[in-house]
Amino acid sequence: MDWGKVRFFWAEVAQNFTRNLTMAVTAVGTVAVSVVLLGTILFLHESFAIFMKQVVGQVTIAAYLKDNTPKTQVDGTLRVMKSDPRVETVTFVSKKQAMDGLRDRLRGQMNLNLINSNPLPDAILVHPADPNDSGSIAKRLQGLPAVASVNYRSDITEKLLRVESVLGAVGLGVVSLLLAATALLIYNTIRLTVFARRSEIHIMQLVGATHWTVRWPFVFEGILTGVAGAVIGIALLEFAYRTFAPRIAIDLPFLPFNFAVVPVGVIAFELLCTGALVGMLASMLSVSRYLRSS
């Protein structure tokens, strides 16, 4: 390791960073604000995804069988469902098991002696691997000869899935806009630094510096801007999370979200990488454009 070279390189980066300090601080601040908003969106998205997994993940399709269906036909229906790759589990619930379950649920609420016949049909309970497949599996079940009717709370499931996809699209749009604005600001900051150092760049080029030698300090400046902004943003988010998450859990217990299980470490890492990546790409674009035109 040639420490002289390393020292020279980082001195160039530091010089870039301090040359337009006001602009650099503005860029870092903008990255921080973007990271806070981006982090909040990611956090809410994760919370909602966990909630969805818990709610929609419990979706079960109940196929009620026709009375007096022969056992061979019931077994055939079970086989069809078990061989379907979209299905996770298949359970047969007989008339008797269904009545026992109903009696258990109603025990203490009514006089169970009043129930002296069993109107409940045999049923097959199907648990899909992906809740999005519920509709198509239900449709398939409906077409089988042993099945009388199918119920899977399609209204709630579909509504939740629709809400999830709308929120995902809106979140993606907002995140894209934020990232574009951040990248544009870093791009302009680097462009100003490049402009301030144009005579040095010209001298570098005259004495035979390669384009990459010219580029690297600016690229690292971009990465530093992205990382510095991301670190500040993550620190603010961490503070907000520690302060507000427990309070929300206590003050608003009816909210279906469990903030404690959200992987905040993963989100922080994603934000840090995003900051570095946006900074790197914006600065590379900026300095490359200058070098092409010079």
Binding site: S199, L206, V207
Partner: protein
Amino acid sequence: MIVFKDVGLVYPNGVHALSNIDLELGRGEFVFLVGGSGQGKSSLLKCIYREVEPTTGEVDIDGVPLRGIAAGQIPFLRRKVGVVFQDFKLLQQKTVWENVAYALQVTGASSRDVMRRVPRMLELVGIAHKSKMFPYELSGGEQQRTAIARSLVNNPLILLCDEPTGNLDPETSNEIMALLARINAKGTTVVVATHNQAVVDRMRRRVVRLTNGRIANDQERGHYHIGLG
């Protein structure tokens, strides 16, 4: 060392800077380019260090044709060619030592190389005692010496000087020209574009006169007014 074959240069704004230039400069030669302002001296130098690409014709440097040279190869060409300007183009926030070292550092030289070659170069141009000073603390002559040291530190085969004495008094101009002659004596090809009649006439080296972007005259041991009748 440097060969121009029927070179023409038209700038994007339509100005015809060079026309039908045929010129051959040998290894270790010392050549003056003379002519009034806007006659094509600087443009001819720019073709050599590939700041501009000729519109027509061919320029060869050390046997390498520059036409169509890949952009990635230009830095390596420039390491063979040192350039000195009238306005020195020194970095004001760096010391003399750092300015010269900079040319080595940006080409990826090791710090051991930098420590070895910079003092030697400062010694050669006679400015070692001011190595810790900043350009704004130096006289014009000292700044030009620093610029020459920077252009030579990568051991170029060719040294191009664009009006190197333009901002200097006659005595300092003579010192700078004497320094260039010493560098030339060590084997470096030196090409000097100048208006300075006194130094051209005193040194009596090859003189190429440019008029309206064409070579009007080319004479061994010439003087400033060759071709002017």
